[in-house]
Amino acid sequence: MGSYMQMGANTAGLVSEEGLDGYSGVILSPVNQSQADLRDHVSKFYDKGVADIRLDPQLYSPKAAYRHLPTHDYFPSDIESQEISTTSWWKKLGKQVANYAAMEIGCTSVCSPAILPKKWTDDYYLRCFEGYESLTDSLSTTKLKSILTVCVGYEQLSTADDALRIGSLVAQTKAENCYLVIVSDVEPRREFSSVESLSAILALIYLLEKMSCKVTVSHCGSDMMLFKSAQATNCATGKWWNLRRFAKSRFEESDDEGRQIAYWFEHKLAASIRTADILLLQRDSPKSFGSDLSVNSFGNAILSQFQSEPANPWIGLGWRQYLRWFYDTESTLNSPESLEIVRGWLKDAEQEWEHMEDKDVILEESRNDGRWIRAWRKALSEFTKITKGW
């Protein structure tokens, strides 16, 4: 059970840094690095003693976000042809990814290739799973571990039967590990808030784990606490709050694309907040700010800097405060009682938001109002009901 650091642009330096050495492994990002850079990073990660270095082929990325992806040897030049509907195409791709991982990159584990479908049909999953079988067969003579990638559409996965169907498709494989990618159009930095979709995703995680298929949820944010409630074995995140999931619309943002804003993750509110919000809460609602999990060593460094050098940027510390919160929290939730723990946290967080509302404490960002917490609490309740008897 553990946290994985998901690589983004200029992220490799954070791996195994002092205070951030609690991650179980890293997940490579061919979208963000060239093949040569990726190879170089892997070599450095081994030197740093990273236990698990996973390759995620990231073929599910929207075309607009390919960046370095087409320059990697395994990238199929015919990805837009009709061939992708054939078994032979997937078998070949699985083999190519295996060869690339074993011969070119030398990582320790490999997620199977998966693309974004127009429709989430059984046939789509069967084809992807053929890629997994081929990957697994090709890796059988190596020490590399294969992991089944399961992409799910957030908007399309909305009932218990949807979760049961996907779980039953996964059951046709012999996969013992899977990499769950939640594909959605939810705006960057916004929390999932559909009770139906969230409860179905949680049910799917619970089901896969019950099937002895260990789940790593990719591109998590604060929603990691929900996924851990459903007993996900691992959760992965990255330094960019806005990298938390692959939203097709992410790259179409106009006004703040590329602009980086420093965020503090406040555990008591289950929310990311900005500089002005920290000052506001410290002044007007101190009870709602700074729990043990928020004030990690990087949190302390940020608060000290506010005192000593208030004009200095703290974006780097912000990434680290969040990344540290992530694995401390993930570790706390490696417990059979995780569901009850998170229920308690969310109940408390909702009360804090209500308290702030009563005191007219309003945060900087217009939609940073904690409303998703009610949806999360309802999703946990619904999840408990639908999985009863499974």
């Binding site: 059984d122 779980g167 039953s168 498709l169 046709q172 099937m211 008897g389």
Partner: protein, 281 residues
């Protein structure tokens, strides 16, 4: 009995040096005879009429049987083809199972818990062999479970509807329900949910068959229901009624509850998990 088939069987027996002893039975497209080799070994001779069934299907059946080397699966001795003015037939010579079918055994014997447990374990071992070979039997029922004389270990027979998951499907997806005997079929078979058909489907059929031995009725049939309504419950992906679950509990056969769950993901994922569950009860 079709006299054409009798004549064809006589021709085949002569060609293969077999002596016809008796007629055993006929299915939709296949007839079976008890025969003896020149050395006196008793073997089953099966003739599949090519006018009623494609060569591909017979090939799949025999290839499947050849892939399954197990005491819990009938052994194939030879496969050939016979053409005469009687027609063209695929000819399969198989191990002869002289202990009869489970159906026949039940006419003379009431199985106790230990017999049922041994039967279930034997069938799960057979499913493990099929799963490893990426095969799904799709028609597990009492007439397709046989025994060797003097033995209680079950032997799975009649792979006529076998699905080889490593090959393309021979069944179209627009049919309302897939191949199999509805009474013993899983929800995914009854709904022709082809992508979900795997070893879990055979697990469900074994579950129905074993449950029937305990309950004397279909496990989805509550007291006021007909068999047809029970099958509809399976189609609708319902869970077994509480009265069935209580009976399994009383018999210390709780594993049946999980074997009969409506979705493959909710059943046992590996044959060894099921064997473990049986052994700890």
């Amino acid at each position: 009995m079709d006299p054409n088939h009798i004549a064809a069987a006589e021709e085949v027996a002569l060609k293969l040096g077999l002596k016809l002893i008796s007629f055993c039975g006929a299915g939709a497209y296949k007839v079976t005879y008890k025969t003896a080799t020149a050395e006196g070994q008793i073997v089953a001779l099966k003739l599949a009429d090519r006018s009623k069934c494609t060569r591909e299907r017979t090939e799949r059946e025999t290839e499947a049987l050849k892939k399954c080397s197990s005491e819990f699966v009938a052994k194939v001795i030879s496969v050939s083809e016979h053409t005469s003015d009687r027609g063209t037939f695929d000819v399969i010579v198989e191990e002869y199972l002289d202990g009869g079918t489970l159906d026949e055994r039940l006419l003379t014997e009431k199985l106790g818990r230990q017999d049922i447990v041994e039967l279930l374990k034997g069938l799960v071992h057979a499913l493990a062999v099929l799963r490893e070979a990426r095969l799904v039997h799709r028609d597990i029922k009492p007439t397709n479970v046989m025994f060797r004389s003097g033995h209680h270990a079950p032997v799975l027979v009649d792979f006529g509807l076998v699905r080889d998951l490593s090959q393309s499907s021979m069944t179209v997806s627009w049919m309302p329900n897939g191949p199999g005997t509805p009474y013993y079929s899983s929800p995914e078979q009854l709904n022709n949910d082809k992508a979900l058909i795997g070893w879990h489907s055979d697990q469900f059929s074994v579950g129905v068959m074993i449950a029937e031995l305990i309950l004397d009725r279909h496990p989805f049939q509550s007291l006021s229901m007909t068999s047809a309504e029970a099958i509809q419950s399976v189609v609708d992906r319902k869970f077994i009624p509480p009265c069935s679950a209580a009976a399994f509990e009383k018999m210390r056969m709780r594993c049946l509850v999980q074997m009969l769950k409506p979705w493959p993901a909710l059943r046992y994922q590996r044959p060894e998990d099921l064997i473990n569950a049986i052994e700890i009860e």
